[in-house]
Assembly symmetry: C2
Homo-oligomer: 154 residues x 2
């Protein structure tokens, strides 16, 4: 086993005023077959703005939503982490295999972010009925909102 693991983009996130979608490169479009039969998918994307030695060396962070709390990057969803892979569960709107276009309701990725994998969201492996989280999430929704998770507007 080599220590070097390399990723290749399979496409990228695109946006316009009305929509957000994944644009999948031609060689990978056959891999979209049957994805439209799932309501949701897990999108792994690369946070290229944080692919720097400085960002990748950060191990702990103050939580912007929990003043005074510091957590390890493996205990939060910060975009800076040793391997800057983000994971977003998205509602699948439509899949055009020929065009390589997968419409999503929302995703918290900027346009141009490389997509590295798509996995279907399946109850038996992805959905946990009873969870425990720290009290800094008190008052947050306990389920993904129907529209999904998008970018925050400034």
């Amino acid at each position: 086993m080599s220590d070097l693991m390399t990723l290749r983009p399979i496409g990228q996130v695109e946006r316009d005023a009305d929509a957000v979608w994944l644009s999948i490169d031609e060689p990978y479009r056959p891999a979209l077959a049957e994805l439209d039969r799932f309501s949701h998918m897990l999108v792994l994307w690369w946070v290229h703005g944080h692919d720097t030695e400085e960002s990748r060396a950060i191990t702990q962070t103050e939580l912007p939503y929990a003043p005074g709390e510091t957590a390890g990057v493996f205990a939060c969803r910060a975009e800076y982490r040793p391997n800057p892979i983000a994971l977003t569960t998205c509602k699948v709107l439509d899949v055009d295999m020929d065009a390589g276009r997968v419409g999503v309701a929302a995703i918290d990725a900027y346009a141009g972010s490389p997509v590295i994998d798509i996995k279907p969201y399946i109850g038996v492996v992805d959905r946990v009925r009873d969870i425990r989280v720290p009290d800094w999430y008190d008052g947050w929704p306990e389920w993904m909102p129907d529209e999904g998770i998008g970018l925050y507007e400034d």
Copy 2:
């Protein structure tokens, strides 16, 4: 933005007769702070046995659990995919930051599999109340079993 994206292992999966755990390399152990306050985590790991040009070129597969059905690799959880990253939701048993040991109830990874990221499982971003999946999952559990998802025994 470079097309080359590289991952570095943050640790590996280890097993013995009684337990399975993630062994996290020393530089990354501070990133485990507060992880023990979550009941579940998402573990991204590298399927190194499928890091070959041949495996990475597979775009569709017959589904072993659905005779006669073929799906794209982005519509199933096959370990062969363009970027062989697997994602397993695991129940956190215990976290020893100093030793870099994270006990898990189960994970479907062989010993020695490189771990590339850990993220906490959070309701608002990871848990979807209403999902639709293809009918080949009829009869499967709709929620992750309490013990989690481990390796199948032969």
